[in-house]
Symmetry: C2
């Protein structure tokens, strides 16, 4: 038996499961509200999604290619359809890039976006936590819009 709590594949599946739920949250937003609705001066959910996109594959590329990248969260999409298309492209890209990181490297430190120096696994957990955090905020937006969000455990 391996002495492990979480394997590399399980970490990838954990991340992708959360991304599947985030996709459902994007889908349930009315187009206009996705890009405009906000509370308390916070960003609309589309901007938070632009952040997730700016983090996920650019980080993995940076790690796999061992090359520094600049953080750029300018949205790569103008519509919900374009966002969902990019989301699905990233799902595949994440799978392809993630497997290229050797298991032993997850303990190694890596400087992301020129300033964040953490172990690679810590980076990945931060990406997941950050997505859950902002998606939770999108749940409040949806409730305020009187829209039923997907169940939190619906990650299939």
């Amino acid at each position: 038996m391996k002495n492990e709590i979480l394997s590399k594949n399980e970490l990838l599946e954990y991340w992708q499961a959360q991304r599947r739920l985030t996709r459902k949250v994007i889908e349930v937003f009315p187009e206009k509200d996705l890009f405009e609705f906000s509370i308390g001066g916070m960003r609309p959910f589309s901007q938070m999604c632009a952040e997730f996109i700016a983090i996920a594959t650019p980080s993995l590329k940076s790690i796999v290619m061992n090359k520094s990248m600049k953080f750029d969260e300018k949205p790569t999409f103008k519509t919900k359809e374009e966002l969902l298309k990019r989301w699905d492209e990233d799902t595949l890209a994440i799978n392809e890039l993630f497997v290229q990181i050797p298991e032993s490297d997850f303990q190694k430190e890596f400087v992301l976006f020129g300033e964040y120096n953490f172990q690679i696994k810590q980076h990945i957990f931060y990406f997941i936590d950050n997505e859950i955090h902002h998606r939770g905020q999108a749940y409040v937006y949806l409730r305020a819009l009187d829209i039923q969000p997907p169940f939190f455990w619906e990650t299939l």
Copy 2:
């Protein structure tokens, strides 16, 4: 080198780090708003904290004692001070209980609260995700109240 992404101690530290941030979010709420403020018919943050408390140590006790428990999220506190006191007691209790789960058991399935059948590690990740999710909602409450929440990365 161990073939692992995350060790048992790292999982505990990951959870406690998130709990430290949640504690800061509780602290920054005005007493009245902690118990009364909500958006879109959602629960006030104190009720979400009552849920976290109803999950954390009762789950670990159930696992360690291999005994079924009923889920009861009735608040055990009436004030912010009582909530913070309970939070700190649970921090110690979680540390004490968690170490009693053998590392090899984290892969085993366990039925929590008479209905949720998952691997023990999946339960723990769910507790963490659930806390991040609802705490993210509390950030919207704070912003709507014009209160600056703690930085998301301030988990020390």
